[in-house]
């Protein structure tokens, strides 16, 4: 058989297999994957958040396992909600943080872009060795072999003028532990570790607790006994 005919056929078979598997288990009467569903106007009772909550209760433990932030990632397209949730309830518990939960045939609406937090207030580090996050905008900061915008304030020699926290001494050592006069090349690209923050709902749930919290819990237990 000609390969050019075979390929589309195989693709079609694969897609139909996918869509069958994507069909939700009994619970919500979800339609088969629609081609490009138009965003339907949603009343207050049908907002994505509400739907998610009620579905989460029904499916119990599995939805809970998907995360503490209120279930699977949802990009807010009301017409895809029922199916999206059904997918997230699959036992695998996998959530695609980039696409959300809609099936392959659906085009999820990405979340709106948010502005970078620009309060200039230093944030608590979650653990001792965490690279501190950047509390200001860094739009269009040039960091390349020609110039490093971050270092115009954060370098050792500019600290008095800028009152910005100077780059840590660890950044002046090479991998053998030798101290250098300048920032080590392996530490030159600031935004590999230090990042700006945005006020958005996390795409992936996180149950991290810092060591202080854990210690407190440990200390609290013996007293209870």
């Amino acid at each position: 058989m000609d390969r050019r005919i075979l390929a589309p056929l195989l693709l079609a078979a694969l897609l139909s297999a996918c869509s069958k598997r994507d069909e939700p288990p009994p619970a919500p009467p979800a339609p088969a994957p629609q081609a490009a569903p138009a965003p339907a106007p949603s009343g207050p009772e049908a907002t994505p958040g509400n739907v998610m909550l009620s579905e989460g209760k029904e499916s119990g433990a599995l939805a809970g396992a998907a995360g503490t932030t209120g279930g699977p990632t949802n990009f807010g397209d009301p017409s895809t909600d029922s199916e999206a949730l059904a997918l997230a309830d699959r036992p695998s518990g996998l959530v695609d943080a980039l696409r959300g939960t809609p099936s392959l045939m659906q085009e999820p609406r990405p979340p709106e872009l948010a502005n970078t937090e620009n309060k200039d207030v230093r944030r608590t580090r979650s653990y001792a060795m965490q690279p501190p996050t950047i509390p200001h905008k860094t739009d269009n900061y040039q960091v390349d072999k020609y110039a490093n915008k971050c270092l115009t304030c954060h370098s050792r020699s500019r600290t008095e003028e800028s009152q910005a926290p100077p780059v840590s001494i660890t950044h002046y050592t090479d991998r053998s532990g030798n101290f250098l006069a300048q920032i080590s090349p392996r530490r030159y690209f600031c935004e590999q570790c230090h990042v700006v923050q945005l006020e958005v709902k996390p795409l992936v749930a996180n149950t991290f607790q810092d060591v202080d919290t854990l210690l407190k819990q440990q200390q609290a237990k013996p007293r209870e006994q």
Binding site: K119, N140, A147, K149
Partner: protein, 201 residues
């Protein structure tokens, strides 16, 4: 040589002599109209060379510095107010503008002899070009920035903390000028550190 002086003498005599054929009215009105045409023409051409389309009509500007500008907030932003090449690189005041335009004749020379005709040549010369332009803006207290960003109308309560810190102290006292901190906001910076010193200081 002798004949040249004779020629000049003849012209001088003609210019000094009162007009024998044209009336005073014709000469006055004609001179006025000619003035409008020549001065208007001069200004029109001057303004035509003061547009972004003209600046980016050569590949040196279009491929290098214009592409830098397109990434920045001075090109693309929430309100759609933007800066074009001459807004920053040509003074708005007439006297300074003419002075800068005369300096710019050197750029025609550069174009003809291809001083930055390739990307490599441009990158090699970039430090010199950037240093010169930064020096110009430092010397005139960032006059071209201030055409739009007027210090007197800055609302510190609408600025971020560190912006207020810098603007209310060094800038207000005149110790620093705009480009001291805001260099490289419209174009990528070359390595401006002194020879042989790495960029991470």
């Amino acid at each position: 040589m002798h004949s040249l002086i004779d020629l000049l003498k003849r012209y001088w005599r003609t210019i000094r002599r009162p007009s024998a054929y044209y009336s005073l009215g014709f000469l006055t009105v004609g001179g006025f109209i000619a003035g409008i045409i020549f001065w208007g023409g001069f200004n029109t051409i001057l303004e035509a060379t003061n547009t972004e389309v003209f600046c980016t009509s050569c590949h040196e500007m279009y491929d290098n510095v214009y592409q830098d500008l397109r990434q920045t907030i001075h090109f693309n932003n929430r309100s759609g107010v933007r800066a074009k090449c001459p807004d920053c690189h040509v003074p708005h005041n007439w006297t300074f503008k003419i002075a800068r335009k005369m300096q710019a004749s050197k750029e025609v020379w550069g174009k003809i002899f291809g001083s930055i005709s390739t990307r490599e040549k441009f990158l090699a010369k970039r430090k010199e070009l950037a240093t010169r332009e930064l020096a110009r803006l430092r010397a005139n207290d960032s006059r071209e920035c201030r055409n739009c960003h007027d210090f007197g109308y800055m609302d510190f309560t609408r600025q971020s903390k560190r912006a207020v810190n810098a603007h209310s102290t060094s800038l207000e006292r005149g110790e620093k000028t705009c480009v001291d901190c805001h260099m490289g906001i419209a174009h990528r910076l070359p390595d401006l550190t002194p020879e042989g010193q790495p960029a991470g200081g």
